[in-house]
Symmetry: C2
Subunit: 224 residues, 2 copies
């Protein structure tokens, strides 16, 4: 093995909890500022429906919440949601336990480190910077930049080429079967799935099987 390549969201930090807490706190702040809702849970459900309908990179989710509730556009309520969302996001944008010491040890042992991530390039880089991880990687490849996204093999091939390693010399670590594990398997890398307690319920459809399964990032050090 010569290289270890990582997914970002829900692999290096707990993206699912971040998104959930940021949205709940946004709804709470909007209600405090006058959004006519008696239940935070109902507001959260409504927001989730809007996020699913318009996508997570759409930037008018809170305007749509007002619209769906038949309210007039209200900049105070929207701003309250935006501030609470961003403050919560920043509070939760921390690496999972053991991520930093594991990356340091992998570098000490001479491995090349990489990132393969789907998403907007500036947004994903912002995450790496806020996580304090931006200096660790020899190559960072984001789908927007290369016009190919996981599980396509192309985005993995581009990264392997940048790191100057062959697929069979590289490990790919991610949480999603349908993107991370499927893609890594297709290109011929060693796929490692990280399954933390709370994400046990992810569907095992399509019989996509990772080569290894780990519970925490530091488990990588056991076989590297």
């Amino acid at each position: 093995m010569k290289a270890v390549i990582f997914d970002i969201d829900d692999t290096l930090f707990d993206s699912a909890t971040l998104a959930k807490m940021a949205r709940i706190n946004a709804v709470k702040a909007m209600v405090e500022s006058g959004l006519p809702l008696k239940s935070i849970a109902r507001g959260y459900k409504l927001l989730m429906r809007i996020v699913e309908k318009y996508g997570s990179n759409y930037n008018q989710h809170f305007d749509k919440v007002l619209e769906e509730l038949g309210c007039e556009w209200n900049p105070k309520i929207i701003a309250a949601g935006v501030v609470a969302y961003h403050d919560t996001k920043q509070a939760y944008l921390k690496p999972e336990p053991e991520v930093i010491p594991t990356l340091i040890t992998l570098r000490d042992r001479g491995y090349k480190l990489g990132i393969v991530s789907n998403g907007k390039a500036v947004k994903q880089w912002e995450k790496l910077i806020r996580l304090g991880l931006h200096h660790f990687f020899h190559a960072v490849v984001i789908s927007e930049e290369v016009g190919s996204e996981k599980p396509d093999v192309e985005i993995f091939r581009i990264t392997l080429k940048k790191l100057e390693v062959k697929p069979q010399e590289a490990i790919y670590v991610g949480d999603h079967l349908e993107t991370d594990i499927l893609g890594a398997n297709k290109v011929g890398m060693i796929s490692v799935r990280i399954v933390r307690e709370k994400r046990k319920k992810q569907s095992y459809k399509d019989k996509i099987t990772p080569r290894f399964s780990i519970k925490r990032i530091s488990d990588l050090l056991k076989f590297l």
Copy 2:
């Protein structure tokens, strides 16, 4: 007197220092991430030229910095600038000394409090929320929402109507002669200009004269 109405930027917080420091820190972070510039000062000048050319609400200033330097689009450098800019902004988004105790005392004395501000409504509300001032005001009027901006009299009249006071019963506090003082004078309010040390050099063109000039917000309490 029945009401005291305030401008936001450079009246309730030090917007000029915030913008300057946020931009300097953004340039520093971009240089650290690979922007090919030897001098931070040169980068700051370039950024200021771009801000002036495209306006401060344009959201691709850092992309333009790369473009002007003949560099390829680089999401790492842009994200480094964005993160440093926002972190600095948050650090400096604090009320000027004495603003909060002065607002509390004015309310204790029975004055209605208001805001008249030029700008994007959500953005200006975000500032009030981050400053912790959003609960103090009986009326907040932002130009984008009402389709009129200082020095037009209309935006002042809308606010006076919301507060149910006549122009001669209200004080307007701001820093800019050409928008704040001119507008307040035109509508017949008592204009008060706040001139802190560092802003002495603002041009006194057009002979716009405030009714009173103060050095700090708490000076208001001397004549109210």
